[in-house]
């Protein structure tokens, strides 16, 4: 087991990257502590799987280095890195039994059969696969197969890190949470570093201690789920995380005070100085927007029922401001005003948190 350090990592699938858009990963620096549970979160095409494959050694980065502990593993093949990976679609060796599947990585490494047997049984017990050991792996359900993929990683005692590449994609919804809590439980019991790639914020937030949010090949924020929710460093994080995402209102700065629709909006942070032509925006989550007697004049455009609360979509001109109301609250029928909770209203310059 080891700490994982990624330095100045860049990767491009194009042989001679010229334009900025040729890079699938643009300059990534990260450090993952030993035994942590991390999530790589971002939309499709943001580079999270590329990053994962570079860590596992399936891809060789165009530039930059990766360290496991103090060893530079940038050039090592996956077989030598002592990593395990669970893929989006379950990979099992169809012709083998569950037992042989779990034993496969050990047998490939020439581990004595007695040791193989004890490890396989131990891991099968951990994953509740004991009763299925003599079965053909091909006949299992998707979640059973995913457990085998995971088991093939766990069975090796020298594993540095287990990586999950959207492992719940093909799992039935009602089994998803069970497998997810199994993963969480495993993490607590065996204390292995786990990296979990997903585009599903719920999966990321429930699994990880630290979430790495990626967008267009860069890491936009690393933080705990609470930090990502309460203090998004980038409007993308605000928008991507949360349901519905953060409201983003274009604003003008006058003497350091943000103004939207002619109304001064007090913010928790202030911009030191903004370059000319910079895009300035106010970000506030729907959770921190309220109907008020004064503030920004809006009209109510739509109301949708989300169970315990209602999502109200209001508009000022073309700008949409969403807010959450308790299910019992009355929604004003036509014209109304909204105001924001200053502590959670932030100013963004060119997408990034100002100040």
């Amino acid at each position: 087991m080891a700490r994982i350090r990624i330095e100045h990592l860049r990767h491009s699938y194009v042989p001679r990257p010229a334009r900025e858009s040729d890079w699938a990963l643009k300059e990534v620096d990260l450090e993952w502590a030993d035994g942590g549970a991390y999530a790589l979160l971002g939309p499709s095409g943001c580079g999270k799987t590329t990053l994962l494959n570079i860590v596992s050694g399936l891809l060789r980065p165009t530039a930059g280095r990766i360290f496991f502990g103090d060893a530079d593993v940038t050039a090592s093949p996956p077989g030598e890195r002592n990593i395990a990976q669970v893929f989006q679609f379950p990979v099992v060796y169809d012709t083998m039994t569950v037992y042989d599947n779990l034993a496969f990585p050990l047998r490939n490494r020439g581990v004595p059969e007695a040791r193989v047997d004890s490890r396989v049984r131990e891991i099968a017990a951990l994953l509740d696969l004991e009763s299925m050991l003599p079965q053909r792996a091909a006949g299992l359900t998707a979640d059973g197969k995913q457990k085998i993929s995971l088991g093939r990683g766990l069975v090796r005692s020298d594993v540095n890190v287990i990586m999950f590449d959207e492992p719940l994609t093909v799992i039935d919804p009602h089994l998803k949470w069970r497998l997810r809590s199994k993963l969480k439980e495993l993490h607590q019991r065996i204390g292995l570093t786990m990296i979990y790639v997903t585009h599903d914020q719920t999966e990321a937030m429930t699994f990880a201690d630290q979430v790495v949010v990626m967008h267009e090949g860069t890491v936009v924020q690393v933080g705990t789920p609470v930090e990502l929710f309460e203090r998004p460093r980038h409007t993308f994080v605000g928008h991507f995380i949360g349901s519905p995402g953060m409201n983003i209102l274009p604003c003008r700065l006058e003497n350091g005070v943000a103004r939207f629709a002619g109304v001064a909006i007090p913010t928790a942070n202030t911009a030191a100085e903004t370059p000319n032509g910079a895009r300035t925006e106010i970000g506030v989550r729907p959770e921190f927007v309220r109907f008020a007697s004064a503030g920004i004049p809006v009209r109510v455009a739509a109301v949708s029922d989300a169970g315990r609360h209602q999502i109200v979509e209001t508009r000022h001109g073309d700008t949409v401001i969403r807010l959450l109301l308790d299910e019992r609250d009355q929604v004003p029928t036509v014209a109304a005003h909204v105001s924001f909770d200053t502590a959670f209203t932030r100013l963004y310059v060119d997408g990034w948190l100002a100040g």
């Binding site: 996956p78 395990a84 990976q85 012709t95």
Partner: protein, 288 residues
């Protein structure tokens, strides 16, 4: 629930197919059945003979010899083409321009008409002017496929391998292309050797297409006629007289319609039986 409407008009939609199948399969086959139980002395007069021709064919040494040659030929051809085809498929690039180039090159032999293949190889192997025959003889190997049974067999097999290995290779290649990258990646992470990858990932995933490849190659090679007819005509002597060539000799050479009919049916049943056996063996354990 409304009552089910019974409407038999749909049968009319099936009729064209029935007529087509009737005229191109059932009627010719029944003609053969008809011949196989009758004797004629011309003038379109037929006499019923029961199973006489069947007994004759089954006990004929000539038929036994042709059947043995046929089985040997098919066995050799399968034993070479299936492993070779898989090996070629494994060696073909999976992506890029060269993948397309390889695919086109591999398809070429399959696009050549069978009699042309026979003619090409006939000329290619001629001992005096053919490139292959001439080269072999110049190299000191006495080679003449029109006179030596071994040379005739070797040429026949080389021709079939040249003509049909592509089919196995293309099918195996299709099977290989359908394997998701994740399998190779997982195997890499599991520390699998390339043999282990072949044995536990590639071969199981190719199983279905290989079943089809083996069946197709079995049936085609068991029925092969045109190429050996053009290449050796069944000679020297009867050395390369395979079942189909023998059948044509009996039916059209000697005009023995009765025995030829009986032999056709026995031939057909052998193919059917062996295909079924191949299929059962190759899909064994699938029901689990």
């Amino acid at each position: 629930m409304s009552a089910r409407t019974v409407n038999q008009k749909a049968w009319w939609l099936v009729l064209p197919v029935l007529v087509l199948v009737g005229f191109n399969a059932i009627v010719p086959l029944m003609t053969v059945v008809n011949y196989s139980v009758q004797e004629t002395f011309g003038n379109n007069k037929f006499f019923f003979e029961g199973v006489k021709w069947f007994e004759m064919v089954i006990h004929s040494a000539r038929f036994h010899d042709a059947l043995k040659r046929q089985l040997l030929f098919t066995a050799i051809v399968l034993a070479i083409e299936v492993p070779l085809g898989v090996a070629v498929a494994l060696a073909m690039p999976r992506r890029g321009v060269w993948a397309s180039v390889c695919l086109v090159l591999m398809s070429m032999p399959l696009l050549i008409p069978w009699n042309v293949v026979g003619a090409i190889w006939n000329i290619f192997a001629l001992p005096d002017i053919g490139m292959l025959g001439w080269t072999l003889n110049r190299a000191g190997i006495d080679y003449n496929f029109t006179r030596q049974p071994v040379a005739a067999w070797a040429t026949l097999i080389a021709m079939d391998v040249w003509h049909w290995t592509s089919l196995v290779a293309l099918l195996a290649y299709a099977g290989l292309s359908a394997i998701p990258d994740a399998y190779y990646q997982a195997a890499k992470i599991d520390g699998a050797s390339s043999w282990a990858v072949f044995r536990h990932v590639q071969l199981p995933k190719m199983k279905h297409v290989l079943t089809i490849a083996v069946l197709l190659r079995f049936m085609d090679s068991f029925m092969i006629y045109t190429e050996p007819f053009v290449l050796t005509g069944g000679g020297p002597g009867n050395a390369t007289t395979l079942l189909s060539i023998d059948l044509v000799k009996i039916a059209l050479g000697q005009f023995d319609l009765g025995p030829a009919g009986a032999m056709s049916l026995i031939y057909f049943l052998i193919i059917l039986l062996l295909s079924w056996m191949f299929y059962r063996v190759m899909t064994l354990g699938e029901a689990e």
